[in-house]
């Protein structure tokens, strides 16, 4: 019985490898299949309703946006829109690309573009990402290929926002199947979704842009990291997202790109010992960021340049640099501030982010090394959340968190972590608030950048938070895949190649 079974398995394996070998040929027509492993099942396949990286991994290939980003420079470039311009302080006019069709044959036109914008802000959709578009009042059709987007006040980053807004077909969008069987204009068409098992896509041969070269795409949710690694090693999948840095040497090929995730320390600057700026500066001087990046993330992390923003974010200040590691200076500042060894409560959580617990312990030790009496308290997630949003009078002296700003604009980071009204803020500086408030409605790009540069400098000099690291996104691939990952984390199969 057993022998027969193994013989059967042997025949099956042989058969499968023969079939796989047949897949490669075929000139210009899209060919081959790529299998991509992600960390979990999409919550929905409606591209406008959820804030979900797994959903985006699928829909980034099916749908397109009016404004795109250059894969290398991350600059805004035309997508489904040919051009856009500001016609008055609250009106952006967008010219659309012509002759584009949705996968179901519906035309892409001004009506579709305006519909998509009005849909995402509508209270009926109740989208989790609606806050990205809170400044939009409405979109109006001007002619077949032109729309106007009206904003509630001057909104300088509207094009940046449009990069996050996928264009949906107006007729089909009201179909009850829309959230499980997506239809877009993009280079790949939806085939099927078996929940928790796979989503299949195929090349859209009528695509208006550069034609896709890979014929089929299977996206598989594999929750467990070691299993993802094993599936890659066994050749069952070609590309995995979120590879743990230690595993880089175990995979056929690994690529990385600066990511968007920043572990950081929220310091209570309003109540308790850290109201003294010198102690906050001492904390920043005490952190050996390079050592943390090397020992915990195998080098797949870089020091945060003192702003919780990447160079790709609008408003990044290139003149602000990370606090250097200087334990002597930290000790001197502590002495100057007259710190007498009061206990400093350091709240953290475990398991939400890569190596979070190890990072918290290492940071605590570095703080102890310069003389802080740090007491680490790892709390349960719900308690951690309550503390993060509790406001300064209840906020712990130090709280570990991680921040990720996908809008690629400084506003979100500065207003939620630093602005005195921010939901996670325990810092208050009227001068800083004023700059961020002014920048939010400043339509002159140069002025706006300048306001952010000043704000970033102020927070940095105030040591408003503990600046830690910027983690890289690491991907593992099989030998046959050729791909350069993007800084915005999108996995666009159109930009990938299979070499066999």
């Amino acid at each position: 019985m057993m022998r027969k079974f193994f013989a059967l398995v042997g025949v099956l394996v042989l058969l499968m490898s023969v079939l796989a070998a047949c897949g490669g040929a075929g000139g210009a027509a899209p060919a081959g299949e790529i299998v991509i492993a992600i960390g979990g099942d999409p919550s929905t396949l409606d591209p406008q309703s959820a804030d979900d990286g797994n959903e985006r991994a699928v829909n980034d290939n099916i749908y397109e946006t009016l404004v795109a980003r250059d894969p290398k420079t991350m600059e805004l470039v035309p997508g489904l829109a040919e051009s856009w311009k500001l016609v008055d302080p609250t009106t952006w006019e967008v010219k659309l690309r012509q002759g584009v069709k949705f996968h179901n044959g519906e035309p892409f036109d001004a009506e579709a573009a305006a519909f998509s914008i009005n849909r995402i802000i509508s209270p009926e959709l109740n989208s989790q990402v609606a806050s990205n578009f809170a400044t939009i009042k409405e979109a109006k059709v001007i002619d077949a290929n032109t729309i106007q987007v009206i904003t509630t006040g001057p909104d300088p980053i509207l094009p940046t926002r449009l990069y996050l807004l996928k264009i949906v077909p107006p007729k089909y969008a009201s179909d009850p199947d829309f959230d499980t069987k997506p239809v877009g204009t993009g280079p790949y068409k939806f085939v099927e979704w078996v929940r928790d098992d796979h989503v299949d896509l195929e090349a859209n041969t009528d695509y208006w842009g550069t034609k896709p070269t890979i014929g089929k795409v299977r996206i598989r949710p594999i929750k467990e990291e070691v299993t993802r690694l094993a599936a890659l090693q066994a050749g069952e999948v070609d590309l995995v997202r979120g590879l743990i840095p230690e595993y880089v040497s175990e995979v056929p090929k690994a690529v990385s790109t600066p990511g968007l995730e920043f572990p950081w320390l929220r310091l209570n600057t309003l109540v308790g010992p850290l109201t003294d700026k010198r102690l906050r500066q001492a904390i920043n001087y005490a952190l050996n960021k390079d050592a943390l990046a090397q020992s915990l993330y195998s080098g797949y992390a870089v020091p945060d340049e003192g702003q919780i923003l990447t160079p790709g974010h609008f408003g990044y200040n290139p003149n602000v640099k990370a606090y250097p590691y200087d334990p002597e200076k930290a000790k001197a500042l502590i002495q100057e501030a007259g710190y007498a060894g009061e206990e400093i409560e350091f709240i953290g959580e475990a398991g939400r982010w890569l190596k979070d617990k190890e990072l918290i312990e290492a940071v605590a030790q570095q703080l102890r090394d310069v003389g802080f009496n740090v007491k680490v308290n790892i709390v349960e997630w719900s308690q951690w959340l309550d503390l993060l949003f509790a406001g300064a009078d209840k906020a712990p002296t130090i709280q570990f968190s991680a921040h990720s700003n996908e809008l690629l604009d400084a506003d979100r980071t500065l207003s939620s972590l630093f602005h005195s009204t921010g939901s996670q803020t325990a810092y208050s500086n009227p001068e800083f608030d004023q700059l961020v408030d002014a920048a939010r409605t400043e339509t002159d790009t140069t002025k706006r950048a300048d306001e952010y540069h000043q704000a970033v400098q102020i927070a940095h000099d105030d040591a408003a938070v503990g600046y830690l690291l910027n983690l890289k996104d690491v991907y593992g691939m099989t030998e046959r895949v050729e791909w350069t990952p993007r800084a915005d984390g999108k996995m666009l199969v159109l930009e990938m190649k299979l070499t066999e």
């Binding site: 099956l12 929905t44 806050s131 928790d196 098992d197 929750k223 066994a234």
Partner: protein, 306 residues
């Protein structure tokens, strides 16, 4: 018999109701459910709107009454994560979990009962010792770790099976073996000790004295009498697989069943989905107990239902 089943059914309903109420209490009383379900970057207004929409602002007793009212109609609301009726999401995945559990159970019984019986026939022999030691290994090995080791050897190393995913034999064997490992060990051990007990009973000498073949003596007399503890333990093992073990095994093997759904629902604090999941798992376990009670009478007519 009929009365017995009715009494057991009433008892089962009470158990399921109790479990559901307990889950409601722990999910609503610990922490702020709205903040736990929404992304960190959400503003206070968004959180407040969500609380309103979900009814978290109602007094807890009103929330509880709404929960009970819908739960009796098996309606736990839409999953917050996957936006479909929670019950439907669970029922969609239930057959896949039951498939895994059924195969693991068959595997356990087919391997463990003959092994345990053979070991009992020759106590302290090499066979007996090998069985006992490997059973102990099976019982004590952590499932999560076993699953990963099996993947590394048989999928990555030898390439015989698949590392993960849902499908036919190449996908099924490793998770089923992982799931079965502990119950194979425990059932082997209990079969062995129950058989040794029976083989030392005086009626065994009577059976042999009647001139019955040794095979008949062992299978018809000893094994039949040893079935009660084996059935009890097996049912307990199945319940344990359904109610918890599949969470680890399905996670390791990315097997799209109820266990994998449960862990994702818990991580996302998806209350409707957690409640539907726990309800269905409790239902399966309770039904299993009912079947077990009936099986007792079938295998041992001395057990009466009155």
């Amino acid at each position: 018999m009929g009365q017995f089943i009715i009494r057991r059914l009433i008892y089962s309903v009470a158990v399921i109701a109790g479990v559901s109420v307990f889950v409601f209490i722990i999910t609503h009383m610990l922490g702020d459910p709205a903040r736990m379900m929404l992304p960190l970057e959400s503003t206070e207004e968004e959180v407040e709107a969500f609380r309103d929409a979900m009814g978290f602002n109602d007094p807890i007793l009103v929330q509880f009454w709404n929960f009970v009212k819908n739960a009796v109609r098996l309606d736990f609301g839409d999953s917050i994560w996957q936006k479909e009726p929670a019950m439907q999401l669970v029922l969609e995945r239930l057959p896949r979990t039951l498939q895994l559990v059924a195969i693991a159970t068959v595997l356990s019984l087919v391997l463990a009962i003959p092994l345990g019986a053979a070991a009992a026939l020759k106590p302290r022999s090499l066979l007996d010792r090998t069985c006992t030691v490997s059973s102990l290994v099976g019982v004590s090995i952590p499932d999560f770790w076993l699953g990963l080791i099996l993947i590394l050897i048989f999928a990555v190393g030898l390439g015989i099976f698949k590392t993960s995913g849902y499908g036919g034999l190449p996908y099924l064997v490793l998770p089923a073996v992982t799931l079965a490992a502990r119950s194979i060990g425990q059932i082997t051990l209990i079969t062995r000790s129950a058989m040794i007990d029976e083989l030392n009973q005086p009626y065994m000498s009577t059976a042999r004295a009647k001139g019955l073949a040794e095979r008949t003596v062992v299978v018809r007399h000893a094994l039949r009498n040893a079935t009660i503890p084996i059935i009890t333990l097996s049912a307990w093992q199945i319940a344990r697989m359904v109610s918890g073990l599949t969470v680890a095994v399905e996670t390791v093997f990315a097997w799209p069943g109820v266990g994998l759904l449960a862990i994702q629902a818990i991580q996302r604090r998806d209350l409707p989905l957690i409640q539907a999941d726990v309800f269905i798992v409790a239902l399966v376990v309770v039904l299993l107990n009912l079947v077990l009670d009936i099986l007792y009478g079938f295998f041992d007519p001395r057990i009466r239902y009155s």
